[in-house]
């Protein structure tokens, strides 16, 4: 057939994503050995997203990332949204993967409330994906954080499975050892908004999780547990009863009521909070039973409901938001553009002050049922990693909330310093290369398998992630021990010869140095 065109491979800039960038360089180097012409194109995420999401037939391969959010502790979101054919046209399945067999498994696991059975379905899904290689899974990175152990009692640090030590649990439980009672955390990114109805930047969620309570929270073990709800109970596979914790108050002193809870879920689907809407669309209705009890009726059975809805929707005070939402209904803007001067939640921390692009100060809510031991939680915006490390050592910050640099540097620094503790945790999230299945040759599973096999993941782990990652062949992280199918990773064979063999078997030919399509297949996408 024709020679295969030059493959465009997208990555974000090195400055923003050094590991991704390095991985792509390595991969490109390996692929070239197969006889492919690879062109690495570097662009900021926003530009990349524009093409990948909205010009779905215009790209070949892109490096991509799924970040580890607590609600992703349930495999449903990843398994279904990313690969179900129904989301191929508009939704998250931007790679255009379509496999009826997989669709069936993905649909089945959603509604299966029996955990053991569901586990089998999730395993099956992982196996299908491993065989099809719609994505080239690279690694589950390890999130590496550090804190000053002379300031915070090491025992009081909570390492949340798949998330790491920078989590709400830690911030609530950190126990000061001396006079410094403020948790000072860094972030490289600016805070975009502090808004319970808007899913904005990643950093923003650190703040909202502390300010707002949810009915449930994903616990340190990765499983949801009751939070603002004293308890919840499945009445049947479409009904769940929730009992609100007694004595909770909003930061302005007013009591938290079941009305507020119902309002919070209604607000999300009101059309004023498009980002949150998907997390509550399955709710058909909420009945208030008494002043502590509510019943949620679902449209469809949903195994992940507690994790992705109860543990996701922020509880907001009706007396604050009702007039706001009323007002917004008449306007072009929605609630996502609305920024309260002083956000009012019921969470373990209260909002104090926000200095644009510099810091956010929260103070401990001593009235909370799980009141923090620290006095304040201060987020500092430090775009320069080097400076963040310097600040940690000088005490300007005492908790590394984000470290985009080389983790080894952090470990070395901790060693040199003696006052620092560094903790690495395998992430729920993962890095991968997405193949555009809409376009030849990526519509050929064999070709994808070959490309995937061409790169030994250990190389990526070692060279790009400096060892701070776990090689992966599954979208379900080993951090989610219960769901993770270790076999698909173990059975994955990689190496140039493996790749070449697959290609050969599939009929691809090497003419000169250049890989050609099998048979008389024509190149359709050459520019």
């Amino acid at each position: 057939g024709d020679p295969i065109r030059t493959i465009d491979l997208f990555t974000r800039p090195q400055a923003a994503q050094p590991q991704e960038f390095q991985s792509v360089q390595l991969i490109a180097q390996e692929w070239r050995k197969l006889g492919l012409d690879v062109n690495v194109r570097v662009m900021p995420w926003e530009q990349m997203a524009d093409i990948v999401w909205y010009q779905r037939d215009k790209w070949d391969v892109t490096a991509w990332q799924m970040v580890g959010r607590p609600e992703r502790s349930d495999p449903d979101e990843i398994v279904y949204n990313l690969f179900h054919s129904s989301t191929a046209e508009k939704g998250y399945n931007f790679i255009g993967y379509s496999n009826p067999e997989f669709d069936a498994v993905a649909e089945a696991q959603r509604v299966e409330i029996d955990e053991a059975k569901r586990k089998q379905l999730v395993y099956k899904a992982q196996e299908i994906l491993a065989a099809d290689q719609p994505n080239m899974m690279l690694v589950h990175p390890k999130s590496t954080f550090a804190y000053d152990k002379t300031v915070w009692k090491p025992d009081s640090v909570v390492n949340q499975s798949g998330i790491g030590i920078r989590n709400t649990w830690t911030f609530m439980s950190l126990e000061p050892l001396g006079d410094q009672r403020d948790i000072i955390v860094n972030s490289g990114d600016n805070v975009q908004a502090v808004n319970p109805l808007y899913i904005s930047g990643g950093v923003d969620s650190w703040v909202t999780e502390l300010l707002y309570d949810r009915l449930a929270r994903v616990g340190p073990d990765g499983l949801p547990k009751p939070w603002a709800a004293e308890s919840y109970e499945w009445k049947d596979d479409k009904t769940i009863e929730v009992k609100l914790r007694a004595g909770m108050t909003w930061h302005d002193g007013k009591p938290v009521t079941v009305e507020d809870v119902k309002f919070s879920f209604d607000a999300v689907v009101s059309g004023e909070a498009p980002m949150y809407k998907p997390f509550a669309t399955n709710v058909a209705g909420i009945d208030i039973v008494d002043d502590r009890t509510l019943v949620f009726h679902l449209n469809n059975p949903a195994a992940s409901f507690v994790t992705s809805s109860l543990a996701k929707i922020n509880l907001i005070p009706k007396h604050v938001w009702e007039p706001v939402l009323e007002d917004l209904k008449t306007k072009e803007e929605n609630a996502e553009s609305y920024q309260e001067d002083t956000p009012i939640g019921s969470g373990p921390f209260r909002f104090e002050r926000w200095l644009t692009n510099e810091e956010i100060v929260l103070s401990a809510n001593k009235d909370h049922f799980n009141a923090p031991k620290a006095d304040r939680w201060i987020l500092r915006i430090v775009p320069n990693v080097e400076a963040a490390l310097g600040m940690l050592r000088s005490g300007e910050i005492n908790f590394i909330g984000e470290f985009s640099g080389d983790p080894q540097v952090l470990i070395d620094a901790a060693e040199a310093d003696g006052d620092l503790n560094v903790v690495s945790t395998v992430d729920i999230g993962f890095r991968y290369l997405a193949f555009n299945e809409r376009r030849a040759p990526f519509n050929d599973a064999a070709f994808r398998r070959a490309l995937s096999a061409a790169v030994d993941r250990r190389l990526i782990v070692k060279a790009a992630f400096k060892g701070f990652a776990e090689a992966s062949n599954s979208v379900v992280s080993p951090a989610l021990e219960f769901w993770h199918d270790a076999a698909v990773v173990e059975n994955f064979k990689a190496g140039q010869d493996v790749a070449k063999k697959i290609l050969e078997d599939a009929g691809y030919t090497l003419e000169g140095d250049r890989l050609h399509y099998p048979g008389d297949q024509k190149e359709e996408y050459a520019q």
Binding site: P13, Q14, P18, G405, A463
Partner: protein
């Protein structure tokens, strides 16, 4: 042709004469020498550099050859965190520097000179138009402009050149225009008009040679600007990683925390190269400092 009986001095020395290069000044000579060294390095980069600057290298044990100190495993200046040879990058960086520097200088000098010549010589509405354009160009903050361009276009070292060509002719243009204004009323220019010379002839024969040193001067300042700008753009992450430049190297070093790793061998050499090349330009122009700092300091 009886006019050409006497031998003319060689073209090169005539050009140097025309540019009034201050070759007596020791600094200027130092500057020229630095330029010469870098130009040679750039030309013979492939021969000098032991590796491809973007190639990911492995050690003898087939580990990634990352973060090696100078001398280790035979890497003269060590390797980067991504396993590239620093020395080869430095050598190849001179190419980008030269390419960016020289083209930017050329564009700035060329466009600025043409604008200045046309505006100053013809005056009237042409002048008014061009000077209004210059005002607008003066209103455009340069670095932000480059950043925006770099974000819009594919990352490439040419963005800097392009932006400089779009914006930075203004300085050269204005200064040359005012120079042309005084030249235009010089007796010999007037004399050429009385003698029936065409505008083109007057501009090329009588005026342009006089502003050549100024163009050259602004050109050499532009070299510095271009290299520094490219470095800043790279630092901010809008650079082109496939084209190794010193600015990119610095960015790479800082992003990879060379500072914390105390990898001085990594971030010092490109810094020094930039400083050397940029100051070489300044050293040369120092000879012209009166032209360099006319009454308004831009």
């Amino acid at each position: 042709m009886s006019e050409t009986v006497i031998a003319r001095p060689a073209l090169v020395s005539r050009l140097f004469g025309a540019l009034r290069l201050p070759i007596n000044d020791p600094f200027a000579v130092a500057g020229l020498v630095i330029y010469a060294v870098f130009v040679l390095t750039a030309i013979f980069a492939d021969q000098i550099a032991p590796y491809d600057p973007t190639e990911i290298l492995y050690t003898e044990e087939f580990d990634l050859a990352a973060d090696l100190r100078p001398g280790e495993q035979g890497f003269v200046l060590g390797t980067t965190s991504l396993g590239r040879d620093i020395f080869s990058q430095i050598v190849h960086g001179s190419r980008s520097a030269l390419l960016i520097g020289v083209t930017a200088a050329f564009m700035v000098a060329l466009i600025g000179s043409i604008v200045g010549l046309v505006s100053g010589y013809f005056g009237g509405w042409i002048d008014a138009l061009l000077m209004r354009l210059a005002d607008i160009a003066f209103g455009i903050p340069f670095l932000p402009f480059v950043i925006v361009l770099a974000a819009f276009l594919e990352p490439s070292i040419w963005n800097v050149v392009f932006a400089m060509a779009l914006v930075l002719w203004r300085d050269t243009g204005r200064v040359i225009r005012s120079q042309v204004l005084t030249l235009r009323s010089r007796g010999y220019v007037e004399a050429a008009r009385v003698a029936g010379s065409s505008n083109l002839k007057i501009i090329t024969r009588h005026i342009a040679p006089n502003i050549l040193p100024l163009s050259f001067l602004y050109g050499s300042i532009a070299i510095g600007w271009a290299i520094l700008t490219e470095a800043s753009i790279s630092f901010l992450g809008f650079g082109d990683p496939s084209q190794i430049s010193w600015g990119y190297m610095l960015q790479d070093a800082f992003a990879s925390q060379a500072l914390a790793k105390q990898a001085y061998y990594w971030f010092v050499p490109p810094g020094i190269c930039i400083i050397l090349v940029v100051s070489a330009g300044f050293f040369i122009t120092r000879g012209y400092e009166n032209i360099l700092f006319p009454k308004l300091g831009r």
